[in-house]
């Protein structure tokens, strides 16, 4: 199986499995689960996955006697552009509540396999449908295993337990909460704050003056939360590092 999971999607020159590349990918996957990722980093991580998945689907379909053209990653997913990992990102997109459309624009049918599919007779189409569904499911499992994703998720779950029990994190969480309370936001955690704001936005009419005002508040709250979170980010990093040294 071709495996090329380095920092770019390109270098895919032989059929060997590079354990270092897998470890690197696993670390990146873990990091984005725990700390989030910038839209660029997230797109890279997901593109590597999707490229592998599409190749796997094509191989599986070929084994079933069908031609399948791998889709490009941007035909399968679309980042919203929300970036909670930087102050700048928060200033631009807030928490992604009022700043992201309820649904992003959807392209016209853009699957190159459709025209080939339409040339099949009805019975063959039915067989193709079954094969594609099976191959999509199988490929998810195959590629996840290849890239070490189950291990990354398990590590993230372990890290989360450690975080929840870390005294320094608990203290820093209180610091964050007190800091936010001083500027009028009463929430124990940022997740609670986002949930509360989301429910509030849900009561507003889209495009109204109130919704515009909310958007401004959301951006301000997202930045304020970042500013109040210095100690907490440090504590989280330390807690994760102490309990989940990657690949050791």
């Amino acid at each position: 199986m071709i495996l090329c999971v380095v920092l770019s999607v390109s270098a895919c020159t032989d059929n060997t499995t590079d354990e270092g590349d897998v470890a690197s990918y696993q670390d990146r996957y873990f990091e984005q689960l725990i700390f989030g990722a910038s839209p660029d980093e997230l797109t890279q991580i997901l593109t590597i996955y999707e490229d592998h998945r599409q190749r796997s689907i094509a191989e599986c379909m070929r084994d079933d006697g069908f031609e399948y053209t791998p889709l490009q990653a941007d035909q399968v997913f679309q980042p919203t552009g929300v970036d909670l990992t930087s102050r700048t990102g928060r200033a631009e997109m807030g928490f992604g509540i009022s700043t992201v459309p309820d649904i992003l624009p959807v392209a016209e049918v853009d699957d190159p396999n459709i025209s080939r599919y339409e040339g099949l007779d009805e019975a063959t189409q039915a067989a193709y449908d079954v094969s594609l569904s099976d191959c999509e499911a199988t490929s998810d499992n195959t590629v996840e295993a290849e890239l070490g994703i189950p291990e990354a998720v398990a590590r993230a779950q372990q890290a989360q337990l450690a975080i929840a029990n870390d005294p320094a994190v608990v203290r820093a969480q209180h610091v964050w909460s007190s800091c936010m309370a001083e500027i009028g936001y009463d929430a124990p955690t940022e997740t609670d704050l986002i949930t509360t704001l989301g429910l509030e936005f849900g009561q507003l009419e889209r495009g109204s003056v109130e919704a515009d005002r909310f958007r401004q508040r959301e951006l301000e709250a997202a930045v304020a939360s970042w500013d109040c979170g210095d100690e907490l980010r440090t504590a989280l990093q330390a807690a994760v590092a102490a309990t989940n040294a990657p690949n050791t």
Partner: protein, 112 residues
Amino acid sequence: MRKLVTGALMTVMLSAPVLSAAPAMAITPGTGCGTATGSRLSTASAQSTLQQEFSPAGTCYSRVVIRCSNGTQYFGSWKKLNISSVKTCPSGTFIATKNGVAFADWGWQVGS
């Protein structure tokens, strides 16, 4: 277990997905392809199916759309009448919510 979440920590088992979502609505409302309906299969998966087709056979496709807690919108494969389009969020993530409603959507478009 108390949730301890801040900054960019928006991860695996946290109970409150943070990104935008909306009640079910058609992706591309219109006439000619009937109705696509869908449902959530789990916290991370959803499916949709085009159930009626009024236009000439072979021209209508539907697919499910989900928004996941990693801030990404995913599309299931285009499927014809009565064939389910299924999509699952990446491992460790789940379908995001907004206003307490899961963001899973479905609809149809006319194929080329």
